[in-house]
């Protein structure tokens, strides 16, 4: 192959790289995963709490799914801290509405919502 043919072949390959990369980035932008579901679901919570807030978290989801949803909730609500431990004045629950719900006698619900297969409730301590 002479120099100009090599140059054209390389340019076509690089053009293909640009096209594929652009489509890939568009795909990444448009697809929706559980992080996006939680971003939609918890948008009102993000407005309700301040960046310096530290809130408790609980869920009725089983095993591994509970881990994934909790980690994603932390990500969605950052830089506020969402801690999976009892005793905080504010408590967020992210639940599957089809599963039995836990009761929180020491808290009262101030906000709730549902999106796709998940729902949330924001509680404050009765104290």
């Amino acid at each position: 192959m002479n120099e100009s043919k090599l140059k054209y072949a390389s340019m076509i390959a690089l053009l293909a790289v640009l096209v594929i990369l652009s489509f890939t980035l568009i795909k990444i932008r448009r697809t929706e995963n559980e992080m996006d579901v939680l971003t939609q679901l918890l948008a009102p919570v993000k407005q309700q709490i301040t960046p310096s807030s530290v809130i408790g978290y609980d869920s009725n989801l089983p095993g591994d799914r509970e881990r994934a949803v909790y980690f994603r909730t932390v990500s969605v609500l950052s830089p506020s801290l969402v801690v999976e431990a009892p005793g905080y004045d504010t408590l967020l629950t992210v639940t599957d509405p089809s599963l039995p719900e836990k009761s929180y006698d020491n808290y009262r619900s101030i906000q709730q919502g549902e999106y796709k297969s998940l729902s949330y409730r924001l509680f404050v301590s009765k104290k």
């Binding site: 594929i20 980035l25 990500s75």
Partner: protein, 444 residues
């Protein structure tokens, strides 16, 4: 607006760093100077962004500061920069019509196709649960230090911040938290590694070994898959590779390259905690191999200063204690060190992981040994075996379940060393073209 300013800033910063590399080491090839500029620029974005958070400097002030730095440097060295660009342009014309460029373009195409097939929005588990999550904290200049608490220990808040700070820098530039930024960074790193190995092995002309290096990376599904997952391990593997590539070039005419060797090796410590181990092992090897040349050490440590200062500020002022080495574990560490079955389990699982994803390294080692190309007393062998010994020790004393710890990390640990090992072995195999008498001395 900010994104245009950022792009201009970074472009000019890269040009300035290219000129700086030329000023410090004029004999170095333009491709290596470009690599130095790229790596240093990437690291500086991270250091500057982190320091802007620490010192409460606004984002536009940061961009203004980088622009000021660029202006000062260009005012001092603009004629040289212009001359360098003038010399590169004609060479670039010939390069674009060469077989070398075609091989590069096709490899980038194949890697990009694979990337587009496997890349996920927000990346793999560790990408969104650790790296992008840290970046989300760093995106908020008034609340970024909330990250550093063990209340969210799952995200490992003690991990260094190069990748998160680079992601956060670009998020601030575009004014939004977008999953496209970490994906694009992952793609850049994915294609940079094979290009660095290939260009370094070329030695002026297209050869079989350089082509083999491209073939290995393109055919290694494990490499492409992990690189597309948006974890920091591939970025770390790039810095480890660059440290060895630059060190290999250090000689009497390019003695000042050792500044950049120190910078790249120490910057690896700002990517992951494993990078700290790498820096320690690499420095140990530098000292062992250059006992009688303290001037070289001095330059190496001067190059390491900025990365080490930033790392020290992070580890001493912000990072919560590491679960591996926190105080109060001395008794349990003594017990774990005496548990012989752990050693056997580590050897067994690491070997299986090696054979599963990195057998090509074994093949290259056998080819080198069959051809009597020994490397056991070489600098890279000492540095890399010290790193591996360090990983082994970490597994022995891990507080986590050992089998789980190995199965969830061994693949990535080998991935971190994979590009450098491929480069070093292929570089050694290139000696096959030399006369037998010249092969006996180990490289570096």
């Amino acid at each position: 607006m900010a994104v245009i300013l950022s792009l201009i800033d970074i472009l000019i910063l890269c040009m300035g760093l290219f000129t700086l590399a030329h000023q410090l080491s004029p004999a170095t090839r333009p491709g290596l100077k470009g690599l130095i500029a790229f790596i240093t620029c990437l690291s500086l974005i991270s250091y500057f962004y982190y320091l802007s958070l620490v010192f409460h400097i606004g984002f536009y002030s940061l961009l203004g500061g980088i622009a000021l730095l660029n202006v000062l440097h260009l005012r001092w060295s603009f004629p040289l920069t212009r001359r360098l660009i003038g010399t590169i342009r004609p060479a670039l014309g010939g390069f674009l019509g060469s077989k070398i460029f075609l091989a590069l373009s096709l490899s980038v195409l194949v890697l990009t196709v694979f990337f587009s097939l496997v890349v996920e929005r927000w990346g793999g588990w560790d990408a969104w649960a650790i790296w992008s999550l840290h970046a989300k904290f760093l995106y908020y200049p008034n609340s970024w230090d909330h990250l550093f608490t063990n209340k969210i220990a799952f995200t490992h808040p003690d991990y260094p911040l190069m990748l998160p700070s680079v992601i956060a820098f670009w998020w601030r530039s575009i004014g939004a938290i977008s999953p496209m930024v970490p994906a694009l960074i992952a793609w850049v790193v994915l294609i940079t590694i094979p290009l660095v190995v290939f260009m370094t092995l070329l030695r002026g002309k297209l050869n079989l070994v350089a082509l083999a290096s491209l073939g290995i990376f393109v055919a290694s599904i494990n490499y492409s898959y992990l690189a597309s997952s948006q974890y920091a391990d591939t970025l770390l593997s790039l810095f480890i590779l660059v440290a060895f590539v630059l060190y290999r070039e250090v000689d009497d005419t390019q003695a000042n390259l050792i500044y950049f060797v120190g910078f790249a090796a120490a910057s690896a410590a700002w990517i992951k905690n494993e990078g700290e181990l790498f820096y320690a092992a690499f420095t140990f090897a530098i000292i062992c191999f250059h006992l009688r040349t303290p001037a070289l050490w001095l330059k190496y440590f001067v190059g390491s200063l900025l990365p080490l200062a930033v790392l020290a500020s992070f580890k001493l002022s912000y990072a919560p204690p590491n679960d591996l080495l926190h105080s109060g574990r001395s008794e349990s560490i003594k017990y774990l060190l005496m548990a012989a079955p752990r050693y056997w389990l580590i050897i067994k699982m690491m070997t299986l992981e090696f054979l599963k994803g990195y057998a090509i390294i074994g093949v290259l080692i056998v080819v080198a040994l069959v051809n009597k190309l020994y490397f056991f007393r070489s600098f890279p062998f000492v540095a890399l075996s010290t790193v591996l010994a360090g990983y082994f020790f970490v597994y022995v004393i891990t507080p986590n379940d050992l089998a789980w710890h190995i199965s969830s990390t061994a693949d990535r640990i080998l991935h971190q060393l994979f590009p450098a090992t491929i480069f070093l072995l292929l570089n050694r195999l290139m000696d096959l073209s030399k006369p037998a008498i010249a092969r006996s001395s180990p490289p570096l």
